[in-house]
């Protein structure tokens, strides 16, 4: 059973290796070299975030391969990647960043480490290295201001928009902002920079709406949350915005909530720690938990379905997921969309700098990324992602894009979408103002001159 399971994997590996070398040898000898564009993959496949890492980066890798197989690359440019294990450890991720920075004669175009601490660890370097930091829905929030952070992108939405959207959802449930006065909302967060990231926005809204905000930290790994939830019970909280990381913390939060009898449908999970894995860890008690999504799960989307068909169906064995049943899960789909962004950005870059069919460099890629535009329905349909992510476009000034989400409910086996349409902050302008103020403050402190943006 187990033993031969390993064996089988092992053998398939070796076999594949041999096959690959063979083909590699042939291809080099046979045809003239196809132009390549290289992407780094800073994955985390071991350690506490292994479930997330395998899902996200499985999705990324699958899409890159899919584009090669299905379309022969981007305008004939083959997509290749190098992977490096960060273990979600800032120090190791910096090593990975440096290691993957150059591959042969090509420099890497972007960095997408999928962890706020990891994004912070390199945010000071990307500009000088001409590398795009694509912190898709994580990382430093005020980097959404393109005037201060030309090289950092936070599509499709950042943490401040996310908390604002949650509060917006809550006030609608409660029946209006005026009903929010005197309500108690607990922000239960992992005790790290990432956990505190949304607080500036949340405090502001709490002040404006007059609800009572209680911040309760959980020390990682958070396998024991008795005292936190007892405080929540004591505070007679109406809602809990849970801002954790890792299935262990999520699962414990849910079971402990159940132990003190806190209704799960009053808990709203963060995107980062809000996937099937986190709900499964919570077991039966997880039913009714709310989770925010910026990319929708499921296989009903043509793209995901096609990827499954091309890479997995009838043992094609080209997929990167160790467990194929995870195709279509939250993390997987988010990974795919991240890669869609890479590829679309590359496509744009080739067009803008008329290098169609040729590799591009960091600066050109940055322009391409800034030109990401998902507002055209036809294009979304073409990509097979229509409805999977909000329609949005990036601009010189706005590196966030949509700032909208869907609310989902865990029905015990899968997520069901409860919001009719993509939903954002009740007052997006206010959030945007906060972001730009914070960014400008940073710019002043580090005497950065703002890039003047037409739009």
């Amino acid at each position: 059973m187990l033993s031969n399971k390993i064996l089988r994997r092992g053998w398939s590996g070796v076999a594949a290796a041999v096959a690959m070398w063979a083909t590699a040898a042939m291809s080099t000898s046979a045809m003239v070299q196809q132009p390549e564009q290289y992407f780094p993959v800073a994955s985390m496949r071991v350690g506490p975030y292994n479930a997330m890492g395998t899902g996200i980066f499985g999705g990324v890798i699958d899409y890159l391969n899919y584009v090669n197989i299905k379309h022969g690359g981007v305008n004939g440019v083959k997509l290749v990647y190098e992977e490096c294990e960060t273990e979600y450890n800032a120090a190791r991720s910096v090593e990975c960043y440096q290691r993957l920075l150059n591959r042969g004669d090509q420099k890497m175009l972007l960095w997408d480490p999928y962890g706020t601490p990891l994004a912070y660890a390199v945010i000071g370097r990307v500009a000088s290295d001409n590398v795009v930091l694509a912190q898709a829905g994580y990382g430093r929030t005020d980097a959404a201001d393109g005037r201060v952070w030309p090289w950092v992108f936070g599509a499709t939405a950042n943490y401040w928009s996310q908390i604002a959207m949650k509060l917006n959802y809550i006030q609608q449930k409660e029946g209006g902002i005026d009903k929010m006065k005197g309500k108690t909302i607990v922000h239960l967060h992992i005790d790290t920079a990432y956990g505190r990231e949304p607080l500036p926005a949340m405090r502001q809204i709490a002040k404006d709406w007059g609800f009572n905000l209680i911040e309760i930290p959980i020390a990682p790994p958070g396998l024991e949350q008795q005292s936190q939830w007892l405080q929540i019970r004591q505070a007679k909280a109406d809602w809990v915005t849970f801002w954790g990381a890792g299935a262990g913390m999520s699962g414990t939060a849910i079971t402990t909530a159940a132990r003190i009898g806190f209704p799960r449908n009053k808990i709203i999970f963060v995107t980062f720690g809000g996937a099937e894995e986190d709900m499964i860890a919570g077991g039966a008690q997880a039913t009714d938990t709310n989770v925010v999504a910026m990319v929708l799960p499921g296989k009903q989307w043509p793209l995901i379905a096609d990827i499954e068909k091309v890479l997995y169906s009838d043992g094609a064995g080209k997929g990167n997921m160790q467990n194929p049943t995870r195709v279509g899960t939250i993390y997987y789909n988010r990974g795919v969309i991240a890669a869609v962004n890479y590829v679309e950005a590359l496509r744009n870059a080739q067009k803008i700098h008329n290098k169609v069919g040729k590799p591009v460099n960091g600066a050109e890629f940055r322009d391409g990324y800034e030109a990401l535009d998902y507002t055209i329905e036809a294009r979304r349909k073409e990509l097979g992602i229509d409805g999977m992510l909000p329609p949005y476009k990036l601009t010189c000034r706005n590196h966030e894009g949509a700032g909208t989400f869907h609310m989902m409910r865990w029905d015990g086996a899968k997520f069901e979408i409860v919001t009719k349409d993509w939903m954002g902050a009740n007052d997006p302008k206010m959030i945007r103002q906060l972001i730009e103020d914070s960014a400008e403050k940073y710019a002043k402190e580090n005497n950065i001159t703002l890039r003047d943006c037409p739009n």
Partner: protein
């Protein structure tokens, strides 16, 4: 004003958590008693044990069939550890052995992820983990069936281990071993067998702890860190004392919750990360050998 009923809630909640800590700490004591090894891999063993158990169930085995399988695997792990890690390192310093077990934890964690993959699993023991209605109504206390189970399991394990140490021949052997390896050997105590037995037992203890923790936190990697919660319990209880572990567990659980709830907020919370350790240090300053630990004699 001071809300006494809430205080009791916190206290009870703390004691219940304390039991969960003790469950993990038991494994440490068991091994330290026998081979004066501070087995840092205990946390990884907890993770591996329950992961194996769930994994086997996924393969279609029923609960009661999966249990012996998991036990068997843990026994093998224990024996392998004794054979390939401890035996070659016998007569090395305690620090070296500690290092070795940290190395071991890497191996176990790696193997766990290699064999069972990285999927998060949930373990349903069929024990409801929600406040029991009538208890809540009558006493206002939040106690779940799982809490009660944990309590029972803990006391059963402690009782049986206590018996193992005091009554059985092996147990007496153990004590001799703990006192002096060579002497134990010279009077013909089968050291290897005893160590194997102990490590196997520790594996089983890990499985039990893992099942309860897994039921609560999901069966996923972070379980390896339950050990961190057990360490202060250990030093307060004394590395060599089974009852000490329970008392210390309750002490740590209760005190850390009370501190977190009543003092934590003044500092923005998260006090319970370090409080148990500081408590342990203060404690050791008074009793360097822990609550029930055997006295450390300074010979001249």
């Amino acid at each position: 004003m001071f809300d006494i009923s809430f205080f009791i809630e916190v206290l009870v909640g703390g004691l219940l958590s304390g039991i969960m800590y003790s469950l993990v700490a038991l494994g440490f004591v068991l091994i330290y008693k026998a081979s004066s090894v501070f087995n840092f891999a205990q946390g990884s063993m907890v993770f591996f044990a329950v992961l194996t158990f769930v994994g086997v169930m996924e393969k279609g085995l029923p609960f009661w069939a999966a249990l012996p399988v998991a036990v068997g695997v843990m026994v093998l792990v224990g024996m392998a550890t004794e054979r390939f890690v401890l035996r070659p390192l016998v007569s090395q310093s305690e620090d070296t052995l500690l290092m070795a077990t940290i190395g071991l934890s890497f191996v176990i964690e790696g193997v766990a992820q290699l064999v069972w993959g990285v999927d998060v699993r949930n373990l349903d023991l069929g024990i409801r983990d929600e406040p029991i209605g009538w208890v809540l109504d009558s006493t206002g206390m939040l106690i779940s069936q799982l809490d009660i189970t944990a309590g029972i399991v803990a006391s059963v394990m402690v009782a049986s281990l206590a018996l193992l140490f005091s009554r059985t021949k092996v147990g007496r052997g153990l004590r001799a071993v703990a006192d002096d390896h060579t002497a134990a050997l010279s009077i013909g105590i089968p050291l290897k067998q005893i160590w194997m037995l102990v490590w196997a037992t520790a594996g089983v203890v890990a499985l039990v702890a893992g099942m309860l923790w897994g039921a609560r936190s999901g069966v996923q990697f972070a379980l390896v860190w339950v050990a961190l919660k057990a360490l202060p319990v250990l030093i307060i209880g004394g590395f060599t004392s089974v009852p000490g572990v329970i008392v210390a567990g309750l002490l740590v659980g209760a005190s850390e919750k009370i501190v977190e709830v009543y003092i934590g907020p003044k500092f923005g919370g998260g006090v319970e990360v370090w409080f148990p350790y500081v408590l342990a240090v203060l404690f050791l300053l008074v009793r360097p050998e822990g609550l029930f630990g055997e006295r450390i004699i300074r010979r001249v």
